[in-house]
Symmetry: C2
Subunit: 225 residues, 2 copies
DNA sequence: ACCTGAACACCGTTCAAGT
DNA sequence: ACCTGAACACCGTTCAAGT
């Protein structure tokens, strides 16, 4: 007897395995258990399947991480309003990426894997369009967009590194205070500058610093015109 | 009978194990075999000792990588002439870090591990001093130095990611050409900007772009004064 | 104090075998 | 076509035992 064509609608628990389901589960795992909590065994358990099954849909762990990054970045960029002045749009994208990396600390190293992967490309494109809208001369647009992207990814990753390494219990203020104290305790001959700005480290706001840096670059772009 | 106080001078092959020797060997291994070529077993073989012995001098692989980064960064910064105008000094530091990360691709992710490790601190200090010499107002110095450091680390890591992923046989020109072709083949509706600047991607010089970005930030700092 | 090397508890990935 | 699960070839780290 032929199998009936009509299958019952699959519930969320027994849906067929698919690349999308695997990527979604990977993101969940990455977010909850952290960078090296993502294991093919754990992932398989989460998906109620065998570890080897995943390889039918995904080439490697590298591939899986890239796909997870793409998905998160696409989602974040889609949520950013684009009807704003170029300057505001650039600031919005910066904050969006920054917050995404902050919320998904595993994303930082991933975006640092270079401008050849889709995730970084998406960011580059979005920033680039706004640089164009800014009225920068044609030959300066690539440079300006590159600088902005490198800067944004750089700050985001630096910032997320804190959360990646730190005990989740420690809050930001305590962390900054203890770190400022460490800067103050540095050898005065070797680290005069860090000692001097230690109070500013303690009081600074990450988002404000990010935007200040973006503004610095934007001012530079404007000055070059 | 008491052991004689005078030991024969140890040769390079049978010197006692030490943190410094371990770190030096790790750097060698990292440079020659790449990021995941560094293994406690390989390292032990290289040092003609047991894998467990290394743990007497080094707390963990994390610790070892941090120490390797410190060593490389310290060496690089020491080689940079500091008697120059602040602007030139900043450019020199940027190029120095960029080239170090390029030569030691494993260093990029390491420096991205956040501003709490010595390696990043060293760079921050050196940049900061020059920002100070630039005459930036006190309360802007932390922000300006942060922005420069984040940018420099960001570009360096992005750039090194190419070499990390690529077959070593492929040269830069071929890589850029094929990547520019990929940008050109992107969906025109989704990626108009990248398609437009694809020719600039093909022709660009990494070092020039780095310095152009630094200049953008410096111009921003100057404009804010 | 320092080193050895086996052992532990994992990994990512492959692959014969199933349906 | 897709999934299973054992097996392979590794890891970082620990630790009793040696010197």
């Amino acid at each position: 007897m032929a199998k009936p064509k009509v299958k019952r609608a699959p519930g969320p628990r027994d849906e067929a395995l698919s690349r999308d389901r695997i990527v979604a589960a990977a993101i969940e795992l990455l977010d909850s258990v952290g960078d090296d909590g993502l294991t093919f065994r754990a992932l398989a358990a989460h998906l109620a399947t065998g570890a080897g099954a995943i390889y039918w849909h995904v080439a490697s762990k590298h591939d899986l991480l890239a796909a997870a990054s793409d998905a998160v970045v696409a989602r974040v960029l889609a949520a950013i309003a684009s009807h704003a002045t170029p300057r505001r749009a650039i600031r919005n994208i910066a904050v969006g990426v920054f917050e995404a990396v902050d919320a998904h600390p595993w994303l930082g190293p991933q975006l640092a894997r270079g401008p050849w992967q889709t995730a970084t490309l998406q960011i580059f494109e979005r920033i680039g369009r706004q640089v164009q809208a800014l009225g920068a001369p044609d030959r300066a647009q690539f440079t300006a967009a590159s600088a902005l992207v490198s800067y944004i990814l750089g700050v985001s990753d630096q910032n997320a590194a804190n959360g990646r390494m730190l005990a989740p219990a420690v809050d930001r203020a305590t962390l900054l205070a203890s770190e400022a104290a460490r800067w103050n305790a540095l050898d005065p001959d070797a680290f005069p500058f860090l000692r001097k700005v230690a109070p500013q480290l303690r009081k600074h706001d990450d988002r404000d610093e990010l935007l200040a840096g973006v503004d610095l670059i934007l001012a530079g772009i404007a000055a070059a015109r």
